[in-house]
């Protein structure tokens, strides 16, 4: 993650950093769940005072843009929806595939399989979930 | 590692003095085979020969110069070389710096005083084919040390006072001369014979120092104690000065 700090600017360095982090999040370069460099690491990389990084992270945490996880550092706030959803969907798709394969092996056509599913869902008695 | 630093800063002077004194001592003893007894004084006792070569006035001056040179160094010298801020920033008191230098210097002086004191009795039978009593050489070493610590302390004090490598050294070397000039001018020989350093170092206070140049009286403890007190006072002064200085 490369940030550029302009020391001759009249904008405080920590504000420059918060702006650049926000920009990175807005453009998707940094995504929810992504970890940001540790305070010491980023300070050494940018060659700025650790306080600059601390202030930037604090401000963004205060705004809810970052979340500080104790012991792990700073992370971009917000869940990663895509990952969680896609896993479930993928699993469901696999199970569906297995069922459809078996039905086809038993000689059912696609239309018949579709009618079976519709019937099951339409006339489904509310069964308690296992 | 302050001891190491004090040692390194005085090592050259010390080792040169050790080498010079050792080589000289052995050389004299070797030469005694042919030079002793001298043709113009065939009845000269060996002890008198040893006195002339090792404890006479000239040698006492030489030892005094060595003592003065060993007392040089310290923070003012470091100021000239630029390392004073580094030394002063160490978490040690200035007193500790002073004490370490004094201890190392005095130990070095003792070693140099003991060199002939040990070499002469040990090697005389072997090299010069005559015996020389240990008690004599050790007593003369003690007499040398008594003024030696005063010379050391004087140079130490000048080093605390003057900046730079050479000013202190020059002041140190000139001090014995200055002292002797005053001594002579006040007719010290007649009034305070004990206050002549070279007389005392050469055993001249011993009224029974006859032709054999052997010490027969006990050492002049009072005079020696006075010298120890004077040396201590000078070193104390150097310490106070060092503690109060601005660098």
């Amino acid at each position: 993650m490369n940030f550029r700090i302009n020391t001759t600017s009249t904008q405080p360095l920590y504000l420059q950093l918060t702006q650049q982090i926000r920009h990175a999040i807005d453009t998707g370069v940094l995504q929810p769940g992504d970890g940001l460099p540790g305070i010491r690491t980023l300070a050494e990389q940018l060659v700025v005072s650790p306080n600059t990084v601390v202030k930037a992270y604090s401000e963004l945490e205060h705004e809810g843009v970052l979340e500080m996880r104790h012991g792990s550092g700073a992370f971009v706030a917000g869940r990663k929806p895509s990952k969680v959803k896609s896993d479930r969907v993928r699993q469901a798709q696999e199970r569906m595939r297995a069922v459809v394969d078996r039905l086809q092996d038993d000689g059912f056509s696609e239309e018949e399989i579709q009618r079976l599913f519709e019937a099951e869902l339409f006339f489904r008695a509310p069964t308690p979930r296992r | 590692m302050l001891w190491y630093k004090a040692w390194r800063e005085s090592r050259s002077r010390f080792l040169i003095a050790v080498a010079a004194v050792s080589v000289f001592s052995v050389g004299v003893l070797l030469g005694a085979r042919t030079n002793f007894p001298p043709p113009q004084a065939p009845l000269l006792p060996y002890s008198a020969f040893v006195w002339g070569e090792f404890y006479g006035n000239g040698r006492a001056v030489g030892f005094s110069v060595i003592a003065l040179l060993l007392g040089l160094g310290g923070l003012q010298r470091e100021r000239a070389s630029g390392s004073a801020p580094f030394t002063l920033a160490l978490p040690i008191t200035r007193g500790r710096l002073v004490v370490t230098r004094v201890a190392v210097g005095l130990l070095q002086l003792i070693v140099i005083a003991l060199l002939p004191a040990l070499i002469v009795p040990a090697l005389s039978p072997l090299l010069a084919r005559h015996a020389y009593p240990w008690s004599q050489s050790l007593q003369y070493a003690a007499l040398f040390m008594s003024w030696g610590i005063v010379w050391f302390a004087i140079a130490f004090l000048w080093s605390a006072l003057f900046r730079g490598e050479f000013t202190a050294a020059v002041a140190a070397i000139l001090t014995p001369f200055g002292y002797l000039v005053l001594y002579g001018a006040s007719r010290g020989d007649q009034r305070f014979p004990g206050a002549n350093p070279f007389t005392m170092m050469s055993g001249g206070l011993d009224r029974h120092l006859g032709g054999r140049m052997l010490l027969t009286e006990p050492l002049p403890w009072t005079a020696m104690s006075v010298l120890v007190v004077i040396a201590a006072a000078l070193l104390f002064g150097a310490w106070r000065m060092t503690v109060r200085q601005n660098f």
Binding site: I5, T7, T8, S9, T10, Q11, P12, L13, Y14, L15, I39, R40, A43, E44, V47, V48, S49, P50, N51, T52 | M1, Y4, K5, R8, E9, S81, G82, S83, A84, P85, F86, L88, A89, L90, P91, I92, T93, R94, V243, R244, N246, F247
Partner: protein
Amino acid sequence: MNDSWIIETDALTKRYGAVEAVSTLDLRVGAGRITGFLGRNGAGKSSTIKMLLGMSHPTSGTGRVLGHRIDDARANREARRHVAYVAEDKQTYAYMTVRQMIAFTRSFYDDWRPDVEARLLRQYELPIHRKVKALSKGMRTKLALLLALARRPRLLILDEPSEGLDPVSIEQLLQSLVAAAADETAVFFSSHQIAEVERIADHVCMLDRGRLVLDASLDAIRQDFRLLEIGFAHEPPRVDWPATDVGSIRTTGRQVRILAKCNVDAMIERAYGAGAVSVETSAVSLREVFLDQATEQA
């Protein structure tokens, strides 16, 4: 005196003959930050640092480093156990080798860090068997830096640390200072290199002719300090600007230039209220603030 100050002085004064090198200085350096110490040559920076480290004795006034009084030899010695110092001269013992200097220095401190020592030896490429007198100026500087940085002191004082270093080495030095600050070492360094101070310092103290003329955070300087150019159509009137808000006031003809430290809007209003016909505001860089304060008449 407040316990949270790493360095604090109280009317600290140093006189050399008729000259007051340091004049009733009330310096406050906070823990947990990097403080730049600015000033022209002869402004009193080195004199101040010497007094803080017990190298010279104050003429009057007092001070504390890490809570220990500077004018008490034993207290100051105690403070020095937790202070690392790089002098302007960066001279160590000419007759020792690099390795011997490291061993020597190491023997005095409990907070030595062998891992940092090894890393810096590699990074600086110091020849461990070479005597200090045979080192180039740059190498001598790096050795002096290593001897201070291979520790974990509570306070790191550096006097012109980047002098004599090439740009790559300067970058490494600044990184080391940042790393030290991340390790909870308070950093106090004097420098003529405004750019370096602008980069890593959180706070800046500036001396001019022995007095403290600036004591501000870099954020405040960037965000709040403003240069006001106030134009009048007549002789500028006398206005009592609050002393704490103003860094300097200069009047030339019908123009008044004010370096304002805060409450700029109120000042602008006041200027107009006093009959100003134009007020121009501009931000100031640290360099401009330095030049402004350095030439300010006492």
